[in-house]
Structures are given as C-alpha cells and as structure tokens.
C-alpha cells in the first residue's frame, strides 16, 4: 500500500492570501452585486430611496405650503387635464391645497408611522419572544397565552378601541399600532430562538461557561436579526396601509399633519368626480409598499442561505 510520508499533514491548508482576499472582496461586494442582479430587489431599493428622498427633501421639492387652504381653487385637475395649471401640476384637493406638496410632505408621516410603529412593535415583540423562547417553561407558557389572547382580538378592533380613548395623533398612532402588532414578532422570534437554542453553537457557548446574558446577546440576538429585518420590512408596508385604514375609520393622522392614508381616505368621496385627489396618495402608498416588499423579498433571499446554513 502506498504510503506518502512526505506529505505534511499539519500545515495549514494552502489557501493563500490571494484566495483569501478574493473571498473578502466577494463578501463586501456581494450585497450590492446581488442587489443589482435581482431586478425586483433593485427596483425595491430605488423606490424606497425615492420615497426617503421625498421625505427628507420635502421643502426643496415644492414651493407650496401643503396646508395652504384655498377654497376658491379647490379640486383643480392635474396639469395635463383640461383646467389644470402648472402651478399645481398634480392638481388641488377638496380644500384647494396643492396635491404635489401634500404628497411630498405626506411621505414624512407615512414613513415615520410605518417605521416608528414597526420599531415599537419590534422592540416589544422581540424582547418577549426572546424571553419566551430562551427561558421556556412557565414564562413561555404565560407569554404565549397572552399572545394567543392578543391574536384572538382583531388588531383593527383593538386599535379602534384604544384610539377612541387616547385620540389619534402621530405619536399615539405609532404607539398603538406598535403595541397591537407585537404578537407576530413574538411568535417569529420565539420560533427562531427555539431553533437557534437547539443549535450546537449555543451549547458550545454554555460549554465554555458563557452566562445567559452573554448567550442571548452574543449568540442568539445576532442570529434572529435577519428574520427580524425581513418581517419588519413587511410590517412597514402593513403599517402604512393600516394607517390608511384607520384614517378611513376617522382615527388616522389629524391635520395639520399630512399622511397619504388620510389623503386617500379624505379623497374617497371624490373618486368619481375628481379622481386625482384619492388616486395620487393611493399610488404613493402602492409604490412605497411595493418598494418595501420587493426590498424585503430580496433581503429574505439574501439572508436565507445564512439562516439555512446549518450543516
């Protein structure tokens, strides 16, 4: 039998510097590259960036005060229609306010509510999910029963009741949507924690004597982050739509704050007569949600292999 004594066995694998660098570079450039390759992902990113720019640069993009009422100038159609003026290129609403500037400023509230509420519910949900999944036993039982109870109460009803008490407003809206949406996070996070807890690296951390706190923060948290981000993306979309629905029920953003949901809801009376009042905010919502969902989808695709890489 052949024996090759001249083969060194303890030398490190000859994965030289060159290959090393190649892998590094791939890691850094991977995100952008895969983003560009995924058509929907890129589209999503572009849409989201546009909306964010609208929100950030609002004052630069329009010279009209979005709240300047002019009853005599109400319901002017967009510029390309008969009766439209270049002064209000997207037309005016039922109070004669400039549609474009309202759309631009409305992006702020819609994004704030979307992101804010998701942060609130994400925080609550993630913390409870972590605790529930990690400690298990009765803690888990109690938290999950509470979650079940919350699941059993329709979200919109819950919000309806709460908003009827505290009265609408941006902060309350963020808070209420946040508080009502925690359950989905808790469930997802708990499930993730349970599966991660069973993975060997958590055991390994215990074997080297790491404390619970360290295990949660260093080992579990980073590993649930990707699914957390993915559902958060989805929830931003859901929240924006939810704000519109609450506006429909009269519990959305109050003037002088402007939100797309509110505009859409106010404009619904004019669907048949002045389509643009409701259509533009509706489009804005659709496009934003589209962007967020596409971006989220892409994120899922990108993050998935990591989550699946078990062995």
């Amino acid at each position: 039998m052949a024996v090759m004594n001249d083969m060194p066995s303890l030398t490190p694998a000859p994965q030289d510097q060159a290959q090393d660098q190649r892998q590094r570079a791939a890691g850094v450039g991977m995100l952008t590259k895969s983003l560009l390759r995924s058509k929907t992902g890129a589209l999503g990113a572009v849409l989201v960036i546009i909306v964010c720019l609208l929100a950030l640069l609002a004052p630069l993009l329009t010279e009209h005060d979005p709240n300047a009422v002019n009853p005599l100038n109400r319901l002017k159609p967009p510029v390309w229609m008969e009766g439209g003026t270049s002064e209000h290129w997207l037309g005016t609403d039922n109070l004669g306010r400039d549609m474009w500037s309202r759309i631009v400023y409305g992006s702020r509230v819609s994004l704030l509510v979307g992101v804010g509420a998701v942060l609130v519910s994400g925080m609550i949900g993630a913390v409870l999910g972590l605790i529930s999944g990690y400690y298990g036993k009765w803690v888990d039982a109690v938290i999950m029963r509470i979650a079940d109870a919350f699941m059993a109460i329709p979200t919109i009803l819950f919000m309806l009741v709460v908003l009827a008490v505290v009265g609408p407003g941006m902060t309350t809206l963020i808070f209420v949507i946040g508080v009502t949406n925690w359950v989905s996070y808790t469930r997802v996070v708990r499930g993730e924690v349970l599966s991660i807890k069973a993975r060997d690296f958590v055991k390994a951390a215990r074997a080297v004597g790491a404390s619970h706190g360290r295990i949660i923060v260093r080992h579990i948290l980073p590993n649930i982050l990707s699914s957390f981000i993915v559902i958060s993306g989805m929830n931003v979309a859901t929240t924006i739509i939810m704000e519109a629905s609450l506006s429909f029920l009269g519990l959305g953003i109050k003037p002088p704050d402007i939100s797309w949901g509110g505009m859409l809801s106010d404009g619904r009376q004019y669907v048949a007569t002045s389509w643009w009042v409701a259509t533009f905010p509706g489009l804005a919502i659709t496009v934003t949600v589209l962007g967020v969902i596409f971006l989220g989808d892409w994120l899922r695709d990108v993050l998935d292999p990591h989550m699946k890489m078990k062995g």
Binding site: I153, V161, A164, V165, V271, T286, D297
Partner: protein, 305 residues
C-alpha cells in the same frame, strides 16, 4: 385525537380569561358611556342617576368580577344603543360575517393557488415577476379604495352587480372580491415560497426519477406538501376576517360583525364590544384548533397526542 381536542379546548380557558381582562380594561378606560347616552342638554345629576343605574360607580374589580360572572352565563349586559341583550345581537351578525369571510377565502384560494404554483414553477421568469407584481399591488391597495372603485365600475358604470347590502350571490361578489384580493396576494406569495421550498426537496427529485409527468410531480407530490403551511395562513386569515372586515362592510353596507363593532366602539357600547370580542376570540381559538386538526390530517408526520 379526541384527547388532543380536549387538551386544546382546555387551553382555550386561559386565553379567554386573558381576553376578558384585556377587553374589560380596554372598555373601561375608553371613557364615559353615560355622556354618550344622554342628550347634550343633560345635567350632571342626570348623569349620576344613569351611572348608578348602570352600576358604573362601583370599584373596577367588582365590576370585572360581575362582568366575568355574567359573561360565563352568556350575559354581557344590554347594549346601550339597542337596549337589547348584547350576545344575541352579536350572534345574529355571525351568519353575514361568516358568509363574507368564507366567500372571500374562496376567492383568495381560487386566485392564489394557481398563481402561487405558477409563480414557483416559473421561478425568476417574466411570469413570476408579473404575478409577484400583481400580488404586491393587490396587497398594497387599501380595501376601501378598491371597494369604492369596484362599485363604480361594476355597479354604476356597467351595472352588472349590485352596489351594496346583503342578498343573493350577486351581492356577495364585490365585497368578497375586495377582501379576497388582499388575502390572495398574501397567499400567493406564501404558496410561492412554500412551493419553491418543496420543489427543492429530495422527494421531488425522486418523483422525477420515476419518470412521472411533470404535471403530476407538481400537482401531486409538491402540491400536497406545499399546502401544509398554507393551511396555517388560511386559518390566520379567516380569523382575522371574522372580526376584521369592518372597512369592507362599511363600504358595501354589509350587515356583519364589523359594522356592529365600529358603531359599538364609537358609541362606547361596552356590552356589545365585550360580547363581540369574546365571540370572536372564541371563534379564533376554535378555528385554531380546527386548523391544527386539518394540519395533522394533511401531514401524517404529526401525531395526535
């Protein structure tokens, strides 16, 4: 199986208890029902009299225990608005709500299954992109907006479907479609990802290696497995529909639970809100159990105990 159901039913108790606390607290903190019941010109004295009559001046925990006690007997008190017992008022709305929810689910399934499967099978093609686009738009469109548009098109302009109200099958189409589109969007995406997952499984490769037609590989081997997670989402959607169709109901003047609830909340009609939430919670919990059972029937790997 029987044991499993009993076990699940027992789990309902703590959930409903928590629901009762949440509801009770919510309703109590939502403000003064007396103010809403009396005319604008009523005096402080009038209010005190009414509060006394309604037992609203007792300590909260006493009110809760009383509430719980009578709730157990199905007595949630009288609706301020209708002056009738709340529970029957809620129950009489259920058929309408169920009808709409079931029809919406049906629409959603009929739309989502072919789209989702096609989207997965034709992954990363134009078809996939198109279906994704449509479903995302379906999800992004607020219900009420779509409802109003559908009415304009189908009822006012083309005059082929009735505008609103509950009646025969034709009355059901528009509201069910309105609700169904959003559900279908979500479902399509789920079916897609579930099917994608399944199509990569070893047993699909096995099926192909047997020389079976591709349509059977997908229609038989992939589909049944792919449906397992879909059952879960369907039950979630169904339960959210039972209490969550209020916007569509309002737009289509559909006399379901949702409308009852909106008005009840707005008029602080505690008895109705409490009864309704209880009934909904109960339905949700029962639906969850049934889903579990369905799940177990679909997936033989799960045991009954």
């Amino acid at each position: 199986m029987g044991k499993y159901i009993i076990k699940s039913l027992l789990q309902v108790i703590p959930v409903l208890l928590i629901v009762s606390i949440i509801v009770f607290v919510l309703v109590r903190v939502t403000g003064d029902p007396v103010a809403l019941m009396l005319p604008e010109t009523a005096t402080a004295e009038d209010r005190a009299v009414l509060a006394e009559a309604l037992g609203l001046n007792q300590p909260l925990y006493v009110q809760y225990l009383k509430f719980l006690g009578s709730a157990l007997q199905g007595d949630f008190g009288k609706s301020f608005r209708y002056g009738e017992s709340a529970l029957p008022l809620v129950l009489e709305r259920l058929p309408a709500s169920f009808e709409l929810a079931a029809a919406a689910m049906l629409f959603a399934v009929l739309m989502a299954v072919p789209l989702g499967v096609a989207s997965a099978v034709k992954r990363n093609t134009f078809v996939d992109l198109l279906i994704s686009g449509i479903s995302v738009i379906g999800k992004a469109m607020p219900n009420f907006w779509m409802g109003i548009m559908l009415i304009l098109l189908f009822s006012v302009i083309w005059g082929v479907l009735p505008v609103s109200g509950r009646g025969g099958l034709s009355h059901l189409i528009l509201p069910a479609f309105t609700l169904g589109v959003g559900l279908a969007a979500q479902m399509t995406r789920l079916i897609r990802s579930s099917m994608l997952d399944i199509l990569n499984q070893d047993y699909i490769r096995t099926a192909r290696s047997k020389g079976i037609r591709e349509i059977w590989v997908i229609g038989k081997h992939a589909f049944r497995n792919g449906m397992i997670p879909v059952v879960t989402i369907m039950s979630l959607q169904f339960t959210s529909l039972i209490g969550g169709t209020l916007i569509t109901e309002t737009v289509f003047a559909w006399p379901g639970l949702g409308q009852l609830l909106v008005v009840a909340v707005n008029t602080h009609d505690m008895a109705i809100v409490q009864a309704a939430v209880f009934v909904i919670a109960f339905i949700v919990v029962i639906t969850n159990i049934l889903t579990d059972v369905a799940y177990r029937l679909l997936d033989p790997r799960i045991k009954y105990d």
